[in-house]
C-alpha cells in the first residue's frame, strides 16, 4: 500500500530522555529512512486518546503508532472503526492483518546485562532497583536486572522499591526512596520512572555510598548522557527505529499486522550504553555475555507480573 505519513502518539512530551523521547525520535528516524511524513502528537496524557486518534486518521495518517500501553484498548478500536492501521504495545494477541500490529518492547535482555555489569562493579555487594510504578515493560527489566545480578554473583543483595501508585511526577518521592535504598547499602541504582527518574538521578548525584564513594545510576530506555554529571554508569537503551521501519515496510508490502515486532540485543535495538565509568575489561566481559545471550547460551525469560518480580529480590529475613 501507499504510505504517505505516519503519526505517533505519546502520553508525555518527547523530551524525557526516556520512553516518549525514544518513541518520537524513532518515529522521526524511521520516517526519514523510508521517506514518509511524520506527525507527532505528544503529551496526550493517560486518558482517552480516541479523539486524537480519529483526528490524526482524518488528517490522513497511514499508520498510527499508539506508543503507550494505556492506548492498547482504544487504538485497535479506532483501527477497526476507521480502517486505518495502528501499532500498539504489549498486546501480542491483538494482531489483525492490515490493521493492528503489536510491538512488545522488553529490554529484559539488556537489563540482564546491566545486572551482570552492576554485580561486577558494586563495591558494597548491594544494588537497588527503584521504580515509580509497575507496568509490565518495567517489570520485565527489573526482573532481568535482578536475574543478571544473581547470575553474576549470588551474594550481591538486590533491593527493590516502588515510589508509589501514579507517582510518575513524584520527583521528590523518587529522590527520597532512592536515598533510602542507597542507605540500605546499595551503591548502584537501577532506576525506572518518568518525571520521578530525575529525582532518582538527583539522589544518586547528591548521596554518597556507604564507603564514601560515588553511587552510580543505570538508566533505562533513553540516553541521559547529555544531562549527565558523571554518575551515569550505563543505560539499557532501546532503539525503536528498526521496529518502526519494519512496520512501514510491512505496510508498504501489505504484510502489516501479521507479526509482532520486538527489540533485542541481536540487532542492537536493545543495547547497553558504554560510558567512561565502565572499565574496559568489565565492558569486554559484558560484551562476551551479550554474545552468549544472543547465541542462546544464556536464556533470559521475561517476567511481567509485579508479584513475580518482587519474589526475585533479596529477602532480608533469610
Amino acid at each position: 500500500a501507499d504510505v504517505k505519513s505516519i503519526a505517533i502518539l505519546t502520553p508525555e512530551e518527547g523530551t524525557d530522555y526516556g520512553w516518549n523521547q525514544q518513541g518520537v525520535d524513532a518515529a522521526k528516524a524511521a520516517a526519514a529512512a523510508t521517506g514518509v511524513e511524520v506527525v507527532v502528537a505528544q503529551g496526550l496524557g493517560y486518558g482517552d486518546v480516541r479523539p486524537t486518534l480519529r483526528e490524526l486518521a482524518e488528517e490522513g495518517a497511514s499508520l498510527l503508532i499508539a506508543h503507550a500501553s494505556g492506548y492498547n484498548t482504544s487504538a485497535p478500536e479506532i483501527a477497526n472503526e476507521l480502517k486505518v492501521p495502528v501499532a500498539i504495545v504489549d498486546t501480542p494477541s491483538a494482531l489483525k492483518k492490515g490493521l493492528v500490529a503489536d510491538y512488545t518492547l522488553s529490554g529484559h535482555e539488556g537489563a540482564y546485562l546491566a545486572g551482570r555489569l552492576a554485580a561486577k562493579m558494586t563495591r558494597s555487594k548491594a544494588v537497588g532497583i527503584v521504580v515509580s510504578g509497575e507496568p509490565p515493560s518495567w517489570n520485565s527489566q527489573s526482573a532481568g536486572f535482578a536475574q543478571g545480578v544473581k547470575a553474576e554473583n549470588p551474594d550481591v543483595k538486590v533491593t527493590y522499591a516502588v515510589i508509589g501508585p501514579a507517582a510518575y511526577s513524584d520527583a521528590a518521592g523518587g529522590k527520597r526512596v532512592t536515598e533510602s535504598v542507597i542507605a540500605s547499602g546499595a551503591d548502584i541504582i537501577f532506576g525506572q520512572g518518568n518525571g520521578s527518574s530525575f529525582g532518582m538521578l538527583q539522589a544518586v548525584e547528591t548521596t554518597k555510598a556507604a564507603d564514601g564513594g560515588k553511587v552510580y545510576f543505570i538508566d533505562v530506555i533513553g540516553d541521559k548522557t547529555p544531562i549527565d554529571k558523571g554518575f551515569l554508569l550505563s543505560s539499557v537503551v532501546w532503539n525503536i527505529t528498526p521496529v518502526y521501519t519494519a512496520m512501514i515496510n510491512d505496510l508498504k508490502a501489505d504484510t502489516f499486522g501479521t507479526k509482532s515486532y520486538s527489540i533485542g540485543l541481536k540487532d542492537d535495538s536493545v543495547k547497553l550504553l558504554k560510558t567512561a565509568a565502565i572499565p574496559d575489561n568489565v565492558w569486554t566481559e559484558v560484551q562476551a555475555l551479550r554474545e552468549d545471550v544472543i547465541s542462546g547460551k544464556i536464556k533470559v525469560e521475561p517476567v511481567f507480573e509485579a508479584t513475580a518480580v518482587r519474589a526475585l529480590m533479596t529477602n532480608v529475613s533469610e
Binding site: P51, R54, E55, E58, G70, T73, S93
Partner: protein, 364 residues
C-alpha cells in the same frame, strides 16, 4: 420596582423559573461573553509570551472543538461523563453541601462497571447487563459516600475534608481493585477485562457520538427538573438556601443530607460507568482523568442551573477537545487548557461580583 432591581438575582439562585425579561437575558449574555473575551485576551498574552500566535491557537480550538464534524462529535462524546458529574454536583451544591470527592466516586463507579460489565454481558441480554452494571456502579459510589454523609449529618464534620480524603483513598482503592482483584488475566497490562465494542452503549446514528450523551443530558435534565419542579428537590433547595428555614418547616435535615450525598455520589459513579460502558471499555491501572475537579467551577459558573450547566460543559468540552488539538498542532503543551479554563472562571466570577455591586448601588 424597576427592571434593574429585578435583574439583581444574578447572585441568588435563580429559582424563579419564569421567562426572564429580554433585557435580563441580554445582560446575562453580556455578563457571560464579556468575561470570556477578557479571559481569552489574558490567556492570549500568555501564548504570545511563549511565542505562539493566540489567534492561530483559538482558531484551531474552534475549528477542532466546534466546527469540524468529527471534532464536534468528539466534543459531544466527551460531554457524557461530565454531564453526569455536573448533575451530581448540582444536587450537592444546591443543597449546600460541598462534595469535593467526585473523582473518587467516579473512579469507583468506573471500576465497578468495568469489572461487572464484561462478565454480565456473557450471561444476560446486553441491555440488561449494562443496566445492571450501571446500577452496581451507582450503588458502590453511593456506599462510598456514606462515610462523609454520616459524619456530616450526625457529627457535623465538615464534608470538605472528608470528601477530599475519601477521594485520595478512593483513587488508591480503585487502583488496588484494578491491579489485584479485577485484573484481566489475558494481558500483561494491568487493566480490567474489556467490554467488547459491540456490547458498549450504541453510538448515535452514523456518528462516533456515544449514546451516553443522551443519558447524560437526560440525567442533568432530570436533576434540573427534580431540583426545580418537585417536592423533593424543593426540600433539598430549602436545606441549601436556608438550613434554619428547613428546620422551621419541619424537614428532616440529617436524612436529606444523606440523600443528597447518595444522589450526588451515585451520579458521579454513573459518570464513571457511562465513560467505561460508553467509551473506554475497561479501566487501566493509574487511570484518573480528574473530571470532577474541573467540573466544580463549571457548575458554579452555571449558577447550579442544569440547563446553563449543559452550555458550560459544552464549552469545557470544546476547550478540552479543541485545546488538545491546537496544542498538538502548535507545539504548546495541552496543559495550557487548564490555564485557559482557570482564567475564564476567575473572570466570570469577577464579572458576577461587579454586576452584583452595580445593582446594589443602583438600588441604594
Amino acid at each position: 420596582m424597576s427592571a434593574e432591581t429585578q435583574a439583581m438575582s444574578a447572585t441568588a439562585l435563580d429559582t424563579s423559573n419564569g421567562t426572564p425579561a429580554r433585557r435580563d437575558i441580554q445582560r446575562r449574555i453580556i455578563m457571560t461573553l464579556g468575561p470570556i473575551l477578557a479571559a481569552l485576551i489574558i490567556a492570549g498574552c500568555i501564548l504570545l509570551a511563549v511565542g505562539v500566535n493566540p489567534l492561530t491557537y483559538y482558531g484551531f480550538v474552534l475549528e477542532r472543538g466546534l466546527l469540524s464534524p468529527l471534532g464536534v462529535q468528539q466534543t459531544l462524546t466527551r460531554m457524557a461523563p461530565l454531564l453526569f458529574l455536573a448533575a451530581g454536583l448540582i444536587v450537592a451544591f444546591r443543597a449546600g453541601m460541598w462534595n469535593l470527592g467526585g473523582d473518587g466516586q467516579f473512579l469507583l463507579g468506573a471500576v465497578t462497571a468495568a469489572a461487572s460489565g464484561p462478565l454480565l454481558v456473557q450471561v444476560l441480554p446486553a441491555w440488561l447487563a449494562l443496566f445492571c452494571a450501571f446500577l452496581l456502579a451507582t450503588a458502590i459510589a453511593m456506599l462510598w459516600s456514606l462515610v462523609p454523609a454520616l459524619l456530616r449529618a450526625y457529627q457535623g464534620v465538615n464534608e470538605i475534608i472528608t470528601t477530599l480524603m475519601m477521594t485520595f483513598l478512593g483513587t488508591s482503592l480503585a487502583n488496588v481493585l484494578v491491579k489485584l482483584v479485577f485484573l484481566d488475566p489475558s494481558t500483561t497490562v494491568p487493566q480490567t477485562r474489556t467490554l467488547p465494542v459491540e456490547d458498549r452503549l450504541p453510538r448515535l446514528f452514523d456518528t462516533t457520538i456515544t449514546s451516553g450523551l443522551l443519558l447524560g443530558l437526560a440525567a442533568i435534565l432530570i436533576v434540573h427538573f427534580v431540583m426545580t419542579r418537585t417536592a423533593f428537590g424543593l426540600k433539598l433547595q430549602i436545606v441549601g438556601a436556608n438550613p434554619r428555614a428547613a428546620v422551621h418547616a419541619g424537614l428532616g435535615v440529617p436524612k436529606l443530607t444523606i440523600a443528597v450525598f447518595a444522589i450526588s455520589a451515585g451520579l458521579a459513579g454513573l459518570a464513571g460507568a457511562v465513560d467505561i460502558i460508553g467509551v473506554q471499555g475497561n479501566v487501566r491501572a493509574d487511570w484518573n482523568p480528574a473530571y470532577a475537579m474541573a467540573v466544580i467551577p463549571v457548575v458554579f459558573l452555571a449558577r447550579m442551573n442544569g440547563i446553563a450547566a449543559i452550555g458550560f460543559v459544552f464549552m469545557l468540552s470544546v476547550l478540552s477537545i479543541g485545546g488538545e488539538s491546537a496544542a498538538r498542532r502548535l507545539g504548546v503543551p495541552h496543559h495550557f487548557t487548564l490555564v485557559l479554563v482557570s482564567i475564564v472562571l476567575i473572570m466570570l466570577a469577577l464579572a458576577e461580583y461587579i454586576d452584583h455591586r452595580y445593582n446594589q448601588s443602583r438600588k441604594a
